[in-house]
């Protein structure tokens, strides 16, 4: 194999063979960071990494705000102490039993929605193709609502949401003609499937008594109020597996942004990659819906913020997850405090704040 032939050949590149050339000293390409430990070398884009750091800092600050602000105002020190069970009983109760679990649920759902959105967008090669748009949220919701109204109490929402999400995905992909399908065909099929499931949910709610319908209400708008502990644990597990897996797939995802021909030509197992990404995206969405209901807007807004801050370098998976978590925590905080004592579900806040913001971002960068 002419492994090193290309740059040894004098006709191919004289620049490299001259020892005085600065090119003979290895350096990181522009806009990247390069680490080496022996045989291991990593090359990452700088902008997404900086974006992730900034978003992490913002997430920490908004988390502290979320712990301190509310109907029972705490100062920062009290809130921090209360996390570890130190301080007044009331403070510890408010933080440990109410705010901290809610905060974690918000971060987890936001990150899962946004990561799933980023994965699906890359898979479909279309920034509108988020699980929410192609009906996976609605599928998960319909199944969860069916379990609430059909059985009086929600039995294992994660399992119900997952089966709903899988059914919706199977329908969308089946109707659009398989996993290899790109672009609008699959979007349109997904929107149709989503509308179908949405209508199904409404129909179920219209046919049951008002009390049961009330029980199911948080499922339909998206709220962090109705979360159950079990679902949060499942979401945590999904994120602990899903985020590293997504980051591991990151290089392949980056290549998948090209056409299939190019990606295949570079040796990427395109079909297998797509299948893995699709499943990952569906499972993450289902786990998030099981906790917070359909807050699909996060999946659009989170990756959009991440891409903007990352200057469109690579596929910003980590930054997307952090941006999603940040947006979710802030939206829930706003919903809890702005119209206090009335609480606005996070799904409604996301729709009210998220839509104009999304429009602004989409319109200001016409690339």
């Amino acid at each position: 194999m002419p492994e090193t032939k290309l740059y040894r050949s004098p006709t191919f590149c004289s620049a490299v063979s001259t020892p005085t050339s600065p090119l003979s000293i290895a350096s990181a390409p522009a806009g990247t960071l390069w680490w080496r430990w022996g045989a291991v070398s990593l090359l990452v884009y700088r902008a997404p990494l900086l974006a992730a750091c900034g978003l992490l800092a913002a997430l920490l600050m908004s988390s502290l705000a979320s712990l301190t602000l509310g109907s029972a105002g705490l100062d920062l020190l009290d809130a921090l102490k209360a996390i570890f069970g130190i301080g007044e009983f009331m403070h510890v109760f408010v933080v440990q039993e109410l705010r901290l679990p809610r905060l974690l649920a918000g971060m987890g759902t936001g990150a899962a929605f946004a990561l799933a959105g980023c994965l699906m967008q890359t898979l479909a090669g279309n920034r509108l193709a988020t699980p929410g748009i192609i009906g996976i949220d609605n599928g998960a919701t319909a199944f969860a609502v069916a379990s609430v109204v059909g059985l009086g109490a929600s039995i294992a929402p994660p399992a119900m949401a997952l089966s709903g999400a899988v059914v919706a995905m199977a329908l969308a992909f089946g109707l659009s003609g398989g996993i290899g399908t790109r672009g609008y065909r699959f979007l349109v099929a997904g929107i149709g499937v989503g509308a179908l499931f949405g209508a199904g949910t409404q129909l179920m709610l219209a046919r049951v008594s008002i009390d049961v319908a009330n029980n199911a209400y948080p499922w339909t708008v998206g709220s962090l109020n109705a979360r159950d502990a079990n679902s949060v644990i499942w979401l945590g597990i999904a994120m602990l597996i899903g985020l590293p897996l997504a980051l591991w797939l990151g290089r392949g995802l980056n290549t998948l942004r090209f056409t299939d021909r190019v990606a295949t030509g570079l040796g990427l197992p395109v079909a297998r990659m797509r299948l893995m990404i699709l499943w990952l995206s569906v499972v993450l969405t289902a786990a998030a819906v099981a906790v917070a209901g359909p807050v699909g807007m996060v999946a659009l807004v989170g990756p959009e913020i991440a891409r903007y801050l990352s200057r469109h370098k690579g596929v910003p998976l980590l930054a997307s997850a952090l941006a999603g978590a940040l947006v979710m925590v802030l939206a829930d905080l706003a919903g809890r405090t702005l119209l206090s004592p009335l609480e606005v579900p996070v799904g409604i806040v996301m729709a009210v704040v998220g839509s104009p913001y999304l429009l602004w971002i989409l319109l200001r960068s016409p690339r």
């Binding site: 002419p2 350096s27 390409p29 290089r251 190019v262 040796g267």
Partner: protein
């Protein structure tokens, strides 16, 4: 007729024989098609073809004759209906994707690129078959990427985004990416389609150099028969999914072949500089003229 020219010159056989007698890349009764079962269209029908090592092979033919499909099949982008593509004697479908990507680079015709990608980033993607999850960048990668950009004359624009460049510049960036893959085989789908005359010549001369100096095997789909005659060592003329002539351009290209391929009349004279056939006086055939008049 011209089919008789299907014998490799002695020089070619010598070149191939230091590894094995058979060419590195060949097809065996290859049939390619697209569409679902009932409306299945066979684009390539039972094609057996060897691509001479270390030579520039040009595939020519009218629109829709299956040139690009053949190239996709050779690059393992399309599953054969029957028959096979053999790389080093092994069915390409049974080889690992990565192994194929280390041996065959493809320059596709359509050059869509993700937003925000710069030339340097694009060329870096060409290194991917040689990299791993934990070996993402090396001194050699850098040298090869730079050399590829120099060879394709795009180095001065390395930090520019592709979306902000002209078609010709973009084309050269993609050529650099294919070069960075460092493969012994290069498949190029109309490598000069978006280029002006100066850059066309530059790319063709680069292609010749890669084959003759670096011993790479080049297969290119070319629209322009004149360029194919001028720069290819080996010509494959395709019509309706079949090879109708194959061999060195000077032996293969005849007025009869040109008529059969494109439905035009012409005269051929040897190029005073290179001796390769030149097409002059190209006009539509009489049959066509009378056919359209009645």
């Amino acid at each position: 007729m011209s089919v008789d020219a299907k014998q490799y010159s002695p020089a070619q056989q010598d070149c191939a024989s230091h590894l094995s007698l058979a060419p590195t890349l060949k097809t065996d009764a290859l049939t390619l098609g697209y569409g679902v079962r009932k409306q299945r269209v066979k684009v390539i029908d039972g094609l057996t073809l060897g691509l001479p090592d270390g030579k520039v092979t040009a595939i020519v033919g009218p629109n829709g004759c299956g040139k690009s499909t053949l190239l996709a099949g050779l690059a393992r982008l399309q599953l054969p209906e029957s028959g096979s593509v053999l790389l080093e004697g092994k069915d390409i479908q049974h080889l690992k994707r990565r192994d194929v990507a280390q041996r065959i680079a493809l320059l596709p015709q359509e050059t869509h690129s993700p937003e925000g990608v710069t030339v340097h980033e694009l060329v870096r993607f060409g290194r991917q078959p040689h990299q791993g999850a934990l070996s993402q960048w090396s001194q050699q990668d850098q040298s090869v990427v730079t050399a590829a950009m120099v060879a394709a004359d795009i180095e001065s624009l390395s930090e520019r985004e592709l979306s902000s460049m002209s078609g010709g510049q973009r084309q050269r960036a993609w050529i650099a990416m294919a070069l960075a893959q460092q493969t012994p085989l290069l498949l190029l789908d109309e490598p000069t389609s978006a280029l002006d005359l100066g850059h066309q010549i530059e790319v063709f001369e680069l292609i010749q150099r890669l084959a003759h100096v670096e011993d790479k095997t080049i297969v290119m789909v070319v629209h322009d028969l004149a360029s194919a005659c001028r720069y290819a060592d080996h010509l494959v003329a395709m019509h309706a999914g079949r090879v109708i002539a194959e061999g060195p351009p000077a032996e293969v290209v005849t007025p009869a072949l040109v008529r059969q391929l494109y439905g035009v009349e012409c005269r051929l004279i040897p190029d005073p500089d290179t001796g390769t056939p030149l097409l002059i006086g190209v006009r539509r055939t009489h049959e066509r003229l009378s056919g359209s008049a009645t």
